[in-house]
């Protein structure tokens, strides 16, 4: 059976194609202003990688912030549901899922069957989402990809007073003026976002195993700060940003 999941994220659209439960194709595109066109693009890319034509796909399920605008989908499920489903399939021992995307942070607790027991999310404030690290990398004039490894080189935890991304940007500039090493500022940035995410995780009463997904899971500096704040290791799957789409594709197969 061939199915697809489309994750209409705020910034990036991800598509996963499954054949009998195995991932055979993936595709992504920047959402931009025409998210439907971007979704078509990501969908075509995933099908091409899988070597499958559109007619062969038996079911498409959408998820993500913009899931109402997804093409081809027969139904949609919430991000909480798709995250839990995708993670449970890969890691049946997972009890907590943390998903940090461009504009949203999420903590989901599930039971041994993968059913969602509780969840908490932040979609109102950039301070707990990837948008925060992006703004800070601009203020630091460091590529976002380099920010993570830079922060691993810091041995000095300095506090960040500002929570708000807008205020934090000014604070970063002040720290730079005060000749604070960029490594220490990068760590402060990651400690700050990690503390926002940990407060979400505490709300749901996190238990191990903790699985971290979403694009921000690629940021090694954030992962380091998060593990320190959680006082436990987190599991990161390959391609952590595709897990929502994978969960949606699994849901499509079950119908």
């Amino acid at each position: 059976m061939i199915t697809a999941g489309i994750d209409m994220g705020a910034k990036t659209i991800k598509v996963v194609v499954l054949r009998d439960g195995d991932i055979v194709g993936k595709g992504a595109a920047v959402a931009g202003f025409e998210s439907r066109d971007a979704a078509e693009q990501a969908y075509s890319a995933a099908l091409e990688e899988a070597g499958i034509s559109q007619d062969e796909v038996e079911g498409v399920v959408a998820t993500g912030a913009g899931r109402g605008h997804a093409p081809h989908s027969v139904r949609d499920i919430s991000e909480v549901a798709s995250d839990a489903r995708g993670v449970h399939k890969l890691y049946p021992g997972a009890r907590t899922v943390i998903d940090v995307g461009a504009e949203e942070g999420r903590a989901v607790r599930c039971n041994e069957e993968g059913k969602v027991v509780d969840f908490a999310l932040n979609e109102k404030c950039a301070a707990g989402a990837g948008a925060f690290t992006e703004a800070m990398s601009r203020a630091l004039e460091v590529e976002i990809e380099a920010l993570g490894s830079m922060s691993l080189n810091s041995n000095n935890a300095i506090p960040m007073n500002a929570q708000c991304a807008v205020f934090a940007e000014s604070e970063v500039v002040s720290l730079l003026h005060a000749k604070t090493p960029k490594e220490d500022i990068a760590r402060a940035v990651h400690d700050a976002i990690a503390s926002r995410i940990v407060s979400l995780a505490r709300k749901v009463g996190f238990e191990p195993d903790v699985v971290l997904i979403g694009g921000v899971a690629h940021n090694v500096g954030f992962v380091d700060s998060l593990e320190r704040a959680l006082e436990c290791k987190v599991i990161i799957p390959d391609d952590p940003e595709y897990i929502g789409a994978y969960g949606a594709a699994l849901a499509a197969a079950e119908n």
């Binding site: 202003f33 109102k124 404030c125 950039a126 708000c164 991304a165 807008v166 000014s170």
Partner: protein
């Protein structure tokens, strides 16, 4: 690149001779975005300055004072008492005492708007506070948002830059719409920026986008006002008091007009500091 967010730094001083005065005091407000200094001579404002805060608080305080004193012949030694206030108040090296900005804003508003003021809304660069006070300008209650840029001057600066409209013109331009658009739905300034970009792409004129943002900001502040309640008379201090786009929408939403003033609303905190300094100087002189 033009910096549209940059508001005008300015200063003013009176023509009278300060040497005729007996009580000369100063208030210095080192805020997170702007710093002001006010010099009072015998209960009247004699000079003031308002400029952007640098990365160093003591230096910003010194610069604010020096600029207010420029061309007056007055020096720090001639000032009997200086009160420091604002976010950086403990870093005003030449001050005789530090007093919170809440107390100073209430005291300043009492002078600017008269003793009938009961509710002061201070919309500063990085915070927003609602202060309840009595006829002497003494604080009885307050609430404050200093965690989030929504509802602060900094948020408005971000929008001025995004739309390439000088910050002084934002309010007026936002009123040039035939019909009031729905407010921007994102609270977070970072997300509101993306929302505004999408609206511009849809073909919205800048005035309409600004109208949507000013009304969102007004609404945000109203929720803060409601926590304390608006008792008349009502006054607004801080930089956003100069933005008619926010002020008009705010007045409409609460159904109360804000009192007018001839005095620069950005100096309210420093003015309150100078007023406190006056009382403290009198005490000091009578004790001597």
């Amino acid at each position: 690149m033009a910096e549209y967010w940059r508001w005008k730094e300015h200063r003013w001083h009176d023509d009278r001779d300060w040497r005729d005065g007996e009580l000369i005091t100063g208030g210095v407000d080192v805020g997170s975005v702007s710093s002001q200094a006010v010099i009072m001579v015998d209960g009247e404002i004699y000079a003031f300055s308002s400029q952007r805060t640098g990365s160093d608080s003591p230096e910003s305080a010194r610069k604010a004072l020096d600029w207010a004193l420029e061309d007056t012949g007055l020096t720090l030694d001639d000032i009997g008492f200086v009160v420091g206030t604002g976010y950086g108040r403990v870093n005003v090296p030449f001050s005789n005492k530090a007093i919170t900005e809440i107390a100073c804003h209430a005291r300043g508003a009492n002078f600017m708007y008269g003793p009938s003021v009961r509710t002061v809304l201070d919309m500063g660069g990085q915070d927003c506070k609602v202060i309840r006070c009595d006829e002497r300008g003494k604080v009885s209650a307050f609430v404050m948002n200093d965690k989030c840029a929504a509802g602060t001057g900094r948020g408005m600066e971000v929008f001025a830059d995004l739309l390439a409209i000088p910050i002084e013109d934002v309010g007026e331009l936002s009123l040039q719409v035939e019909e009031e658009p729905p407010p921007v739905s994102c609270t977070c300034v970072v997300f509101a920026k993306s929302e505004a970009t999408a609206l511009l792409r849809e073909g919205w004129p800048k005035s309409k986008v600004l109208a949507a943002y000013c009304s969102a900001m007004a609404h945000r502040v109203v929720t803060l006002l409601e926590q304390v309640g608006v008792e008349k008379e009502f006054a607004i201090t801080g930089g956003i008091a100069k933005n008619v786009g926010v002020v008009n929408r705010l007045e409409d939403e609460i159904g109360v007009k804000a009192l007018p003033t001839e005095i620069d609303t950005q100096i309210a905190g420093a003015l309150g500091g100078a007023l406190f300094a006056q009382n403290l100087l009198k005490k000091k002189l009578s004790a001597a």
